[in-house]
Symmetry: C2
DNA sequence: GCTACGCTTGATATTTAATCAAGTGAAGCA
DNA sequence: TGCTTCACTTGATTAAATATCAAGCGTAGC
């Protein structure tokens, strides 16, 4: 029978010792710095020995603290490796993602490289489909769901709201130049997607052009192709702001009007609540939530 | 930054894997077996891999479980050793105990050998004194307190109540032979301790001999000497049942009357609440509580 | 002298873990 | 065949451990 110290306190100590800062350790472990302070106090009381010398605005390891840290880290490293091996054997070191095509291509794929760099041991498999997610039958771990509500029994994280804006190539309209009125926009070729036939209608309605029709229209198989058409200068497409935020920011594409339409739909990262505890799912969850936060920030900055 | 599994679940797994029984692991960790079951389920979900094969009334490690257990144990062993070293350096690997003399000599000392065998790395230092405990000034870690209440700010565990019974040598009265009446007892030489002048009075009162005086009396410096006098056949002493339970059970000493006096005093194991988290104190606490439980059981069995 | 910034700490809230008790299923026995 | 027993599971609840919030503290640096 082993006698072990409080293990969560030990993990806090390991992080604090590595950073030599309670604050940074707290950030790493996603808690407040007070929590770290308490953990370490607790461990010190357990040991009956000081681990840190506290001085103004910084902490330093004591001699005992340093020795303890090194031994502790070795042990945690062993646990970490063992855990990785146990997962990779029969465990879930692969992550199957299902997402709507446009969201996948324009948002997820450009970011997945970063994810893979962070977690190279996890094999990602991405499927795109417009069909509703069904974890019972789909053989999929997590998904991106588009809509205004989420099925009960799913864990979900709202990634970004649907905000429709018109976009077009710089060839069509010089960068940063706005059309004077929505009516002017309607005189261009309007690019549609079969999948989303009402987007332009929604935008035109919101722009005060209820019932009006575009002069010329061009319809594509899907939103990706529609956007590509806009990039190529064929006309003005209606796009989801979050999915073109970077193209706008970098100037690759122009927004000819400031009118935006926000509706109740949004993209959600979802997975079955039963898989909540899976390390792979949790890791991806945290990563995707952070990426979405960054995207929302850049959308807001436009 | 290390990614670690739920560490408390891991500890439960280590114990369960070692015992190959959730029930025994639960006993070792002082929790119910349901708690172990949940911990292991949690860990399995985290890993996405089964660690145990559950079959009827027994669990067996899976291949992955066995590998994981071995690596995990190595890491825990490292932590355990590191912790022991950290404690022994500047830490509290010594335990200073203060206890009333009779309790120390007759109860604690005979058991301390067992404690030392269990925890050889802890240096025990025992002081005996009738004075009230004072952790502020005494330079003592834990103590045994005699009385009917405990100072605020102390953590305490009641060891055993004070129950006064007469005892004498087999020479004086053959084993298991009772006196017919308390009055008969009062005709023997009654052995007193200066420290506890009212013990006999209490007992005689309770025996219905209010106001009566003993024929002959002998007074000793302290209870230990008084008891020794009884062992030697000098007369009948009044003793605390818990402190002579083993002598009675083994027949070394005789109880000449069934009349017992129970008062509100008791022996308490105490220590400053602030030291609650010290590993050394906690370990001793658990040990002493268990020993007292055994003593109470043997007292009750008399 | 003032501000800023990490750590500490008391009160409180939240989350996690434990308990309790009922349920399950198979071995062992009548 | 049917009953009992025993170890594990599981849903509901309780208890304990952790985290948060916000105020406090102390000094380096302005």
């Amino acid at each position: 029978m082993l006698r072990l110290p409080p293990l969560n306190a030990l993990r806090a100590f390991e992080a604090a010792g590595r950073h030599l800062s309670f604050k940074q350790a707290a950030a790493e472990l996603c808690v407040t710095q007070g929590a770290i302070s308490r953990h370490i106090l607790n461990l010190e009381q357990y040991l009956g020995a000081a681990l840190f010398n506290r001085s103004h605005r910084q902490v330093a390891l004591t001699v005992e603290g340093l020795a303890y840290l090194q031994e502790t880290r070795a042990a945690f490293l062993g646990i970490s490796n063992a855990t990785a091996r146990a997962q990779s054997k029969t465990g879930d070191r692969k992550l199957r993602i299902k997402a709507p095509p446009t969201c996948a291509i324009r948002w997820l794929v450009p970011r997945l490289g970063r994810y893979h760099a962070l977690f190279p041991e996890i094999a990602v498999q991405l499927t795109t489909s417009h069909d509703a997610l069904d974890f019972e039958h789909d053989d999929v771990d997590v998904g991106i769901h588009y809509g205004d509500k989420v099925t009960a029994g799913w864990q979900s994280e709202r990634l970004f709201d649907e905000v429709l804006i018109p976009v077009c190539s710089n060839k069509l309209l010089p960068r940063n130049q706005r059309c004077n009125s929505p009516r002017e926009i309607a005189r261009y070729v309007l690019l549609h997607s079969i999948r989303r036939p009402s987007d332009w209608r929604q935008w035109l309605d919101a722009a005060g052009l209820k019932g009006s029709r575009a002069t010329q229209e061009l319809t594509f198989e899907n939103s990706t192709m529609t956007l590509q058409g806009a990039f190529d200068g064929l006309g003005i497409a209606i796009a989801q702001k979050a999915l073109v935020a970077e193209d706008i920011a970098s100037g690759r594409i122009t927004v000819p009007s400031e009118i935006e339409v926000r509706n109740s739909s949004a993209y959600y990262f979802v997975f079955p609540a039963a898989r909540e505890k899976s390390a792979t799912v949790r890791t991806f969850y945290r990563w995707v939530a952070e990426e979405a936060r960054a995207t929302r920030a850049s959308v807001d900055a436009l």
